[in-house]
C-alpha cells in the first residue's frame, strides 16, 4: 500500500517535471522566433528606408521610367504596411523584383551609373539584401527547431493542449532559391 503510493508520487513528480520543462522550453523557443523575426524586420525597414533616396537619385537621370518607380514605391509601402511574416515575405519578394528592373533600367544611363551616391546606395542595398538573407536563415532555423519540438512524441500530445502551433517559415523567392550553393 505504502509502496504503491510512493511509486505513484514519484511518477507524478516526474511527469509534472517533464511537463513544466516542456512548457518552458516551448515558450523560450517561441520567444526566440519572435526575436529572430525582429531581426528580419529591422533589415527590411532599413532596406525600405533606402528606397526614397534611390528613387530620387535615379529620377534625376531617368525621368521617363515612371512604371519602374511606381513598382518600387508600391513594394516599399507594402513592406512598411506588412504585419505578418507572410505579408512581409511577399512584399520583400515584390521589392526584390522591382529593384531588379530598376537596376536593369539604370544600365542604360551611363551618367547615373557613374554617380557616386547611386553607387553608394547600390552597395548599401546589396548589403541589406545579404542581411535579410542571413536574418531569414536564422529565423527559419529557429522556426524549424520549434516546429520539430512540438511535433515529436510525446511533446505532440501536450503542445496542442497548451496552444502551441507550428510557425510559418519566411520563404525566399524562386530566383533567390536558385542561388543557394549548398545542398543539405
Amino acid at each position: 500500500m505504502n509502496n504503491t503510493a510512493l511509486i505513484l508520487l514519484v511518477a507524478g513528480v516526474v511527469i509534472a517535471g517533464f511537463i513544466w520543462n516542456l512548457y518552458n522550453g516551448l515558450v523560450t523557443a517561441r520567444e526566440r522566433i519572435k526575436e529572430a523575426w525582429s531581426g528580419i524586420d529591422v533589415q527590411l525597414k532599413r532596406r525600405a528606408d533606402l528606397i526614397p533616396n534611390l528613387v530620387e537619385t535615379v529620377k534625376g537621370y531617368a525621368k521617363h521610367e515612371k512604371e519602374v518607380f511606381e513598382n518600387v514605391t508600391k513594394a516599399r509601402s507594402a513592406i512598411m504596411g506588412a504585419s505578418t511574416p507572410k505579408q512581409a515575405a511577399d512584399a520583400d519578394n515584390m521589392l526584390t523584383g522591382a529593384l531588379k528592373s530598376l537596376f536593369a533600367v539604370a544600365e542604360n544611363y551611363p551618367k547615373l551609373m557613374a554617380n557616386t551616391s547611386f553607387q553608394n546606395l547600390q552597395r548599401q542595398l546589396e548589403d541589406t539584401e545579404d542581411k535579410v538573407a542571413f536574418a531569414r536563415q536564422f529565423y527559419n532555423s529557429n522556426v524549424l527547431d520549434f516546429n520539430t519540438q512540438i511535433k515529436v512524441f510525446p511533446n505532440v500530445l501536450l503542445a496542442g493542449m497548451f496552444g502551441f502551433s507550428a510557425v510559418e517559415f519566411f520563404e525566399a523567392t524562386e530566383t533567390e532559391k536558385g542561388n543557394v550553393k549548398v545542398k543539405f
Binding site: 529572430a36 531581426g39 545579404d130 542581411k131 536574418a135 550553393k181 549548398v182
Partner: protein
C-alpha cells in the same frame, strides 16, 4: 558527411577526448600520490596552482592578446567587407556583434578570442582583407565566430589548466624524489609505484600536450563545419584556406603562445606532412580541411 553530422561528430569527439584527459590526470595524480605518500593532495595543489596562473589569461584574454599582437580597431568604411561580413555572421548566428580589429601585416591570417560571446574579439590581418575576396572573408569570419559560438577560448583555457597541472604534478614529484622525501621503505608494491611514477613524470607532460593539440585540431574541424553552416557556402572558406596555404609569409606579431588561436598556423612556412609532425600540430593539415569542406 553533411554539415550537421560533421558538427555532431566533432562535438562528440571533443567530449571523448576530454573524458580521456580527466581519466588520465586522475590516474597520474593517483600514481604520484601513492608513490610519494602524499595521497591526492598532489593533484589538488597542482590544479589550484595551474588554475591561478591561467585565471588571468582567461579573464583578460581579449585585452592581452590584442596588446600582444599589435591590433587596431577596424573601421566600417575602410574595412567594409570585413565589417559587413561580421555583421552578416552576427545576424546568421544570433551572437552579439564581436569587436573587430586589424593587424597591419601582409601575412594572411585571422583569429578570435574572448571568454564569452559578449567579450569576443575577431582579428584579421591587413593581408587577409586585401588579398581575399568577399566570400572568402565571409568564410574566415564565420570560422572565427564559430570558435566564439562553440566557446573554444573557454575550452582551450580549461585544457591548458589541465595540461599545466600535469606538468606541475610531474615537477613536484621529481623534486620530492630528488630530496628523498618519498617513503621508499615500503618494499614490493611501493617500489613498483615509484618506478611507474618516474616513467609517468617523464611521459605525462608530453602526453598531456598531445591531448591538448588533439582537442585544438578537433575544434578547428568543428569551427570549419559550423562556418559552412552559417554561410551556407563551404566553398568560401575552402578557397580562403587555399589562398592562406599558398601564402608563405610569417606573421611577425604571432608567438608560440598565441599560435593555436589563428585560423592557420602563423609559422606554417615549413609545414611537414608526416603523421608524426601532424601529431604535434595545433591545426589539422589545410589540405585535409579543404577536402572536408568541399565534400559538404
Amino acid at each position: 558527411m553533411n554539415i550537421h553530422q560533421q558538427i555532431a561528430g566533432n562535438k562528440r569527439k571533443t567530449y571523448v577526448i576530454m573524458a580521456l584527459f580527466v581519466l588520465f590526470i586522475t590516474t597520474i595524480a593517483y600514481v604520484f600520490g601513492e608513490a610519494s605518500g602524499y595521497g591526492l593532495a598532489y593533484g589538488v595543489i597542482a590544479l589550484i596552482f595551474s588554475g591561478l596562473t591561467s585565471f588571468g589569461s582567461y579573464f583578460y584574454s581579449d585585452k592581452m592578446v590584442l596588446s600582444l599582437s599589435n591590433a587596431q580597431p577596424a573601421n566600417r568604411d575602410r574595412d567594409y567587407d570585413f565589417y559587413t561580413a561580421a555583421e552578416n555572421m552576427r545576424i546568421a548566428s544570433g551572437l552579439p556583434m564581436p569587436k573587430l580589429y586589424v593587424i597591419e601585416d601582409e601575412a594572411i591570417n585571422a583569429f578570435a578570442t574572448g571568454r564569452n560571446p559578449e567579450h569576443a574579439v575577431v582579428v584579421a590581418t591587413r593581408g587577409l582583407l586585401s588579398r581575399l575576396d568577399r566570400s572568402d572573408i565571409e568564410g574566415v569570419v564565420a570560422h572565427e565566430m564559430s570558435h566564439i559560438k562553440n566557446y573554444d577560448t573557454r575550452l582551450m583555457v580549461i585544457v591548458s589548466i589541465l595540461v599545466g597541472s600535469v606538468a606541475l604534478i610531474a615537477h613536484f614529484f621529481m623534486r620530492s624524489m630528488f630530496w628523498g622525501r618519498g617513503n621508499r621503505d615500503k618494499g614490493g608494491s611501493g617500489a613498483f609505484m615509484i618506478v611507474l611514477a618516474i616513467v609517468f613524470a617523464v611521459v605525462a607532460p608530453i602526453i598531456a600536450t598531445l591531448i591538448q593539440l588533439a582537442i585544438s585540431r578537433r575544434r578547428e574541424y568543428l569551427a570549419d563545419a559550423s562556418a559552412a553552416n552559417l554561410t551556407r557556402n563551404p566553398e568560401g572558406l575552402a578557397s580562403a584556406l587555399e589562398k592562406i596555404s599558398a601564402d608563405n609569409s610569417v606573421l611577425s606579431t604571432a608567438s608560440p603562445a598565441t599560435a593555436h588561436l589563428f585560423i592557420s598556423n602563423p609559422f606554417r612556412a615549413k609545414e611537414a606532412k608526416s603523421w608524426f609532425t601532424n601529431f604535434f600540430a595545433t591545426h589539422p593539415p589545410i589540405e585535409e580541411r579543404i577536402k572536408i569542406l568541399r565534400g559538404m
